[in-house]
């Protein structure tokens, strides 16, 4: 099995699906000849040409609006938004149109897109190259939201996302674009949406994480183990609709949970996870659920590593939860 980083794995998935399905069209800023600012689409322009790997004018609203039209026509556009932070000019098209098209037309029409975009901190990008806007899309009826943490999952989840009938926001954790390496199955390989992955089993504390923060959670679990705390680490993989069964099953076992995410704390996905645990496993809880997250501030440049919920902040939360 070949070793790949996440950039290579996503590129592999796009190439494979474009060869398999002539309806798949890529569009975005700088994705053509230069292969994207992170080189995720490198080489695809040469293989598939300008009609299928399209450099667009610099307008996210225009990209998503026209992609919706293409999807209505029967193509399967996979637009790239260069940074998740730049997705907001397309917000109206995503929340009012893309997410609603099937519903509002009584099923006469649907618009199928996968919007790929790099998210999260860790590249010294400051506020406008670092945010994690997942909660702002999870709150919108009609959207699926996916965030892989490993190269193999990136490939398998992207292929599942393109073949899924619903619109998907595919958030790529740019901090681990090249740092995450691993075996990636060759050829067709699908990781089903809606299924979390128990990356490390354990019995004392459940840690729920996704994207780049999975690696911080695993590091924290290792450090907690040195203190005699056995953590179970769940990689959510599909953020919405969430795999509640895997979370509840784990919490029923451990009775203690820490949710980790980069996005701001208030009304983040962690808030919903904790609420669901309270509704579904309250009597199994041995300690108040904890959230270790970004702060309710803009994403800072210089103090980036103080903002991020890195392992040094997760460990004390795990220790506190375990000792409650």
């Amino acid at each position: 099995m070949p070793q790949m980083n996440m950039v290579q794995a996503i590129n592999d998935a796009l190439r494979l699906e474009m060869r398999r399905d002539p309806r798949v069209v890529l569009m975005g800023e700088d994705i053509g000849k230069v292969g994207g600012v992170f080189r995720v689409t490198q080489g695809l322009f040469d293989e598939f040409g300008d009609d299928r790997v399209i450099d667009t004018p610099l307008s996210e609203g225009g990209i998503i609006g026209t992609a919706i039209g293409m999807a209505l026509y029967g193509l399967v556009p996979v637009p790239e938004i260069q940074f998740g932070d730049f997705i907001f000019p397309a917000y109206d098209q995503i929340v009012s149109e893309l997410a609603k098209y099937r519903y509002r037309s009584g099923g006469e029409y649907s618009a199928k897109l996968v919007i790929r975009t790099p998210v999260g901190g860790g590249i010294r990008g400051g506020h406008y190259h670092s945010q994690s806007p997942e909660a702002q899309f999870i709150h919108v009826a009609g959207l699926k939201v996916v965030c892989p943490a490993t190269p193999a999952d990136a490939k398998g989840l992207l292929l599942a996302s393109i073949r899924d009938p619903d619109p998907v926001l595919f958030f790529e954790p740019k901090r681990v674009y090249r740092a995450a390496k691993g075996d990636v199955p060759e050829g067709d390989f699908v990781v089903p949406l809606g299924k979390a992955n128990v990356v490390k089993p354990g019995k004392d504390v459940t840690i729920v994480a996704w994207g780049a923060m999975l690696y911080e959670a695993l590091d924290a679990a290792q450090k907690a183990a040195e203190k005699g705390i056995d953590c179970e680490v769940i990689d959510l993989r599909t953020l919405w609709p969430i795999d509640i069964d895997t979370i509840i099953e784990s919490v029923k076992k451990t009775g203690r949970v820490v949710v980790v995410h980069e996005a701001p704390k208030s009304c983040g996905l962690g808030s919903e996870i904790v609420a669901l645990i309270n509704e579904k496993a309250f009597l199994h809880l041995e300690a108040p659920p904890k959230r270790v997250t970004g702060f309710d501030t803009p994403f800072p440049y210089t103090l980036e590593n103080e903002y991020l919920p890195l392992s040094h902040r997760i460990v004390p939360a795990v220790v506190e939860t375990a000792g409650y």
Binding site: G62, G69, D92, S96, K100, R102, S105
Partner: protein, 420 residues
Amino acid sequence: MSSMPAPKPAQPPAHLEDGHDTSNKAQVSTAHRPGTNGVDTSTLAVGPAVARHPGDTKSADVVKCLRDDGSLDPRTDPNLSSEEVVALYEAMLRTRILDDRLVTLQRQGRIGFHIGSLGEEAAILGSAFAMRPQDWMFPCYREFGGALWRGMPLQRYVDNMFGNSNDPAKGRQMPDHYCYRKAKVTSISSPIGTQITQGVGFAWGAKIKHDDLVTMIYFGEGATSSNEFHNGMNFAGVFKTPAVFFCRNNGWAISVPTERQTASRTFAEKAVAYGMPGVRVDGNDLFAVIKVTREAVERAARGEGPTLIEAMTYRLSGHSTSDDPKAYRPDGTLDPWRAQDPLARLRKHLHKHHGWTEARDKDLEARVDAELREAVKIAEATPAPSLDSMFEEVFADLPWHLSEQKAELVNGPRAKGHGH
């Protein structure tokens, strides 16, 4: 030939001359003007700050055909058969009668809302007529007459007005937010301009697949202020997509007049900046609308790219049944526009050239009333959408959280007046 000639300063509508302006040089040809990208740099000078008014239909650049005496200018005559002219007149009159009756139904409290097209029937029916069967309509929300013309059954439209279980939108949207795939009419949403980029993308998809179709994208002049107008025009220009931008300049965006939407001298001239032709047409002149729209469709189908059409018409009603236009425009200011009523002008032509009689108007009115009465009766007797339908089609399959919430609703108490 001058392209996009500078329009004359607007004349107050009351000064509209009675008679055809023979200086009009068949300006439909702006869609074929020569030169680099069709752009004549003489138009790039900023003009004086003139008060724009759609009453400026007498300007030389505005394409006209139907003369005040009911005859047609042979230079812009789209050469319709007598049957076509009569069918279009009937469709326009039907649209107007339906508008009137739907307002009444709203005032009676039987439907919640209506947004109509009073005074804009020639622009809507003429452009819909100019489309070919394979072309697609991306409506704004005033184009129900066009959707009916393209084959949406009246019953489906009326079901949409009642939001019942036979409504194409399954009662999930307000009235006048219909859709109808068989007629190639897409789905309507309320945010302004969103259909513009979508219509461009649809046409672009057809171009990528080498399919012969054109999209007709409708919007009001207010939407030219939206980011979607800029995005749509820009993408369409860059990728030469087979799209026609049909701007109904009806003078008003709810209470805001045209001169608060732009400092351009015309809306059509915005096309120049996007590398496409723009043309102004008398939007209350059915024949001129057909002429320019047909040429734009043909041009797009030939692979020559998009066209912006500014149809100069006038919204004789309020914005919708929720609007009281007396708050911002005295009723008397509408009189010059009532004199330009597209139905009255066409009727004069019909009397003169197609043997139309007032008795046939009465017949048609009776027929439309009868078909509407029947459709309303059926729609009112049709049950409300099921509770389950609230949760269906959010996703292709029902995810666990919606399944839970559906059970919560179905097993919980019913709202007051449920099903009515």
